[in-house]
Assembly symmetry: C2
Homo-oligomer: 191 residues x 2
Amino acid sequence: MKMYNHTTYAILGILTTNCRSGYAIKQLIDRSLNHFWKISYGQIYPTLKRIVDDGLAEVRDSSGEGKRDKQEYTLTSKGMEALGKWLSEPVDQPPLEKNEILLKLFFGRHQSTDHSIKLLTDYKGKLQERLATYMTIEEGILNQEERSEDVDYWLFTLDYGKRAALASIDWCDETLEKLNSKEEHDGQTSV
Amino acid sequence: MKMYNHTTYAILGILTTNCRSGYAIKQLIDRSLNHFWKISYGQIYPTLKRIVDDGLAEVRDSSGEGKRDKQEYTLTSKGMEALGKWLSEPVDQPPLEKNEILLKLFFGRHQSTDHSIKLLTDYKGKLQERLATYMTIEEGILNQEERSEDVDYWLFTLDYGKRAALASIDWCDETLEKLNSKEEHDGQTSV
DNA sequence: CTGCACATGTAACGTGTTACATGATTCG
DNA sequence: CGAATCATGTAACACGTTACATGTGCAG
């Protein structure tokens, strides 16, 4: 069986929910998977086309009388099979993120310590904002009436985001402390 | 002043160390920044060319008699300035990694719980391997004689990697526990 | 003399973003 | 009626990887 990229499987996966159009796919990702997956229309529509060409899904123009344009996609059994196969394979390496703050910190070792402290403090602020967003989303989920089983899985992924943010914040704190004691020790006065 | 991409600044930054050729840049990144930055020759050589074209660095063919090919690059003051400017700007958003395991976990909610458990267990193993690598590198650094100031900055970035890995491992443990209790509760017997 | 590390480079490809073009429907 | 949202799509660009091509110097 032919291999596809992650984007294709993500779309295949979403087609198993009741999101069945390009627009709806974008909505779902932006609203629900936003903290660990992103996608643009520039990927969605061409990918949907390829999916249909390869017989993994079928399209149906569901823009009836007075309705607006809408292409409804439905997975074929071949599509189901491809998705199932991907799902059953172990994931490849955990993502190795390119991290701009680490790069600047590394090259900033010959700049003033004060400078590194500013960078880190700003970064920490951004992480705290992100964490706050996750907390708000979590509350929203916990407070809603209907607790479908999907909710559990939703919370798993959100928990991941929270832990990652918290760990980064801890690292900022610890590193800031080290930088501060370094500055005192050096008796460095930066402009 | 013209803006460049992160790759360009990374190279500019490395040129401030005593790595002055394309090959040496690749070496440094692979050996020292590997856990948060990667680069390929397909990026390095064209980027070095652009850097020279824009007057941020100068090349010198240092392949003297009997020596092999070697292009030595040196930052110009314009290059220093560009690097300094980038270094002084706050970083943009903390990286939002695309995470395959979360995607599979999310779509696996209609597969068997057992299946999700397998995926997560495998993933945790990979994280543990990575953590072990970091530990080994750390020991290597701590045990070496000369403790230049660079070592501190080296350890900062390594510490980040360790914390990120640990947080992910914790999340795996917690999530596995929840999945196990879910499976018991459902009394589900998967094939 | 063979294999490895040193050393430089390009072309094709895969992937993803951005900006643009276009138009319908709904709600205030 | 005007704005927002629904809805689909493409072209140009930016970025990065991989595979390939080519050759030198040194150690065993």
